[in-house]
Amino acid sequence: MDEYALGVLTNVGLFSFLALSAYLLLVAGEMSFGQQAFFGVGAYAAGIGTAMWGWPLPVAALAAMALGAAAAWLVGLPTLRLRGLYFAMATLAAAEMFRILFELFHYQRTIDGELVGPDGTQGFRGIRWVLERGIEQETFLAAVWALVLLVLGAFALVERTRLGATLRMVGEDPELAAVLGVNVARVKLGVAAAAGALAALGGALYAHHNTYVEPRNFDIMLGVHSLAYALIGGLGTALGPLLGVALDIGLLESTRVFQGYRMIVFGGLVALLLIVRPRGLLDELTVNRVAAALRRRRTA
C-alpha cells in the first residue's frame, strides 16, 4: 500500500481513540475540551515504558491506560458539579496544565550511549520499540484498527445493556437518573476514567507510530477537534465519531484537490451540515430509524 495512504489510515485510527473518548463523555452528558491531556499522558507513559524501562509495548500500553484513567479521575472529581461551558472550560484549563507540565518535565537516561527521554519543550524522541522489532507499517496499521474495532464492539455491547441505558439517561436527565436510584457521581467518574483510558491508549499508539512526541502535540486544537469530530459525526452511535474523523482527516486531508483550502471547505461544509443536522450526521434519531428499518426487514 502507498505510504501516504498507510499514514492517513493509521492517523484516522489513532485519532478515533481520541474522538471516541470525547464521545463517551458526551453520551454521559459532559462536553470536554481536554481529552488531549490523557492522549498525551498515554503517549509519554508508554514511551517511557518502552524506550526507557525496556517494557514490551502491550505492557506499556496497559500501564498508560491505567495512568490515563487515574489522571481523568483526578480531573473529574473536582468538576463533578459542573455542566456545560463551565465543565468544558475546567477541562480545558486542566489539559493546558498537563501540557505545561510536560513542557517542564525532564527525565532522561543514557541508553546505548544516547540520551533518551522527555526533554521538556524539546520533546521525547527515540520511541523506537516498533522499529526495533521490525514491525511493518501495515502490521501496525492492522493492530491499531483491530483495537479500534475491539473498542467499537465494546461500545456496541454496552449500548444493549442496562449500563448503556444508564449512561445515556445520566447524559440526558441526571436529575431523573438520581431519582431512579442511579449514583450519578459514580457513573460520571467511571465514564471519565474510561474515557481517559481510551484516550491514553490512542496516545500510546500514536507515540510509537511517530517515534517522537512533544508537548505542543497535545494542545487545545487537538482537543477541540476531537470533540468536534464526535459532535459532527453524531452521538447516536460510536461510529459517529469515527465518521467525523474519517471525513476530515481521511477524506478532505488526502484529496489533492483541496490542498491548502481544506479547512475552508471543511468549515463551510460543517456549518451548513449543522443547519440541516444539528445533532450531527449519525444522530440518535437517524440511528433509531435505521435500526427500526432493519428490524422491520428482518421480521418481514
Binding site: L82, Y86, M97, M263, G268, L274, P278
Partner: protein, 301 residues
C-alpha cells in the same frame, strides 16, 4: 522591591484591560444568546489582517486602521452569526441548538483562520503603533500609552454599555430578551434582530480590542485568533459567566495574575498558574469573582 510590585500591578492592569475588552464582547454574546462563539477570536484576527493589508498597501493613519479592524471584525462576525447562530433558532431551544451553534462556530473558526493565513501567509507582520513616542513615566513607574488607551477604552465601553442597556429602548429590548425570550417575543420584540445587533456590537468591540492589542504589540501573527478567544473565555469565566462587570473584573484579574506570576516564577509558570487558578475557581466558586466580590451565594451553574 516595592517599585517592582507596583510596576507589575500597573502592567497587570494594563494587560488586563485588553483581556477585559475581549471578554466584554464574548460575554455580550454569551449573556444574551446563551451561546459560546468559538469564532470570536478569528473574526477579530480577520479584522486585524484586513488592517494589516491596508497598512501594507496604503500606510494610512491610526484612525483608518482602527476603523478597518473594527469593520472587518464586525463583517466577519456577521458572517458567523448568519451561518451558525441565526439558523439554530431560539435561545432556550435547549442544549442541542447551543451545541450546534458552538460546533458551527468551531468550523468557521477553522475556516476564517485558514482564509486569513492564505491572504497574508507570513508568520509575522509588523503593525504600526498607536503612539510613536516614549512611554509615559509616573515617577519610577513606566506606563505605555497603548495600554493606557486600552484601560480608558475598557472603562468607556463599560459605561457606554451600561447606558445602552439601561437607558435606551434597544437596551430595554435586550434586557427583556435576556430575561425571558419567549415573553419578549410575545411582547412584539424582534428577537432574531436583537440577537443580530448584539452580535454585531460584540464583534465591533472585539475589533476595537484587536486593534489596540496589535498596535500595542506592534505585530500581527496567525496565533491572534485562538489567543483572543482563549483569553476572552478565561477572563469571562474568572469574572463570572454572562456578567458584564464580571468580564471587566475577570479581565483585570487575569492580567494581574499573569503579570505577577511571570515576574515571580517566569513565563512558563505564568500560564500554569493562570490555568490553575481558573480550574480551582471553577471547582469551588463557578459563579466567578464578581459574584464573590458582591458576596452573592453561589448559584448552581
Amino acid at each position: 522591591m516595592l517599585v517592582d510590585l507596583l510596576q507589575n500591578t500597573l502592567d497587570g492592569l494594563m494587560l488586563g484591560s485588553a483581556y477585559a475588552l475581549l471578554a466584554l464582547g464574548f460575554t455580550l454574546i454569551f449573556g444574551v444568546l446563551r451561546r459560546a462563539n468559538l469564532a470570536y477570536g478569528p473574526a477579530i484576527m480577520l479584522g486585524a489582517y484586513a488592517a494589516t493589508w491596508v497598512h501594507l498597501q496604503f500606510h494610512p493613519g491610526v484612525l483608518v486602521l482602527a476603523a478597518v479592524t473594527i469593520a472587518g471584525a464586525t463583517l466577519a462576525g456577521a458572517y458567523v452569526e448568519r451561518l451558525c447562530f441565526a439558523p439554530h433558532g431560539r435561545r432556550g431551544a435547549g442544549d442541542a441548538g447551543a451545541i450546534a451553534s458552538m460546533v458551527g462556530s468551531f468550523a468557521l473558526w477553522m475556516q476564517l483562520e485558514e482564509a486569513a493565513t492564505l491572504w497574508l501567509p507570513k508568520h509575522l507582520y509588523g503593525f504600526p503603533p498607536l503612539y510613536d513616542g516614549p512611554p509615559l513615566g509616573l515617577g519610577p513607574l513606566t506606563l505605555r500609552v497603548e495600554y493606557l488607551a486600552m484601560l480608558v477604552c475598557a472603562t468607556l465601553v463599560c459605561f457606554g454599555l451600561h447606558r445602552l442597556l439601561n437607558r435606551t429602548r434597544f437596551g430595554l429590548a435586550v434586557r427583556a430578551v435576556v430575561d425571558q425570550a419567549d415573553a419578549a417575543r410575545l411582547a412584539g420584540i424582534n428577537v432574531p434582530r436583537v440577537f443580530m445587533l448584539v452580535f454585531a456590537l460584540a464583534s465591533a468591540l472585539g475589533g476595537l480590542a484587536g486593534y489596540l492589542i496589535v498596535a500595542a504589540h506592534e505585530q500581527v501573527t496567525p496565533m491572534l485568533g485562538m489567543w483572543s478567544t482563549l483569553k476572552g473565555m478565561i477572563a469571562m469565566m474568572l469574572g463570572g459567566l454572562g456578567s458584564l462587570p464580571g468580564a471587566v473584573v475577570g479581565g483585570l484579574a487575569l492580567g494581574l495574575i499573569e503579570s505577577h506570576s511571570q515576574w515571580l516564577f517566569g513565563p512558563q509558570y505564568r500560564d500554569l498558574i493562570a490555568f490553575l487558578i481558573l480550574f480551582a475557581l471553577l471547582a469551588v466558586r463557578p459563579s466567578g469573582l464578581w459574584a464573590m466580590l458582591r458576596r452573592s451565594p453561589a448559584p448552581a451553574p
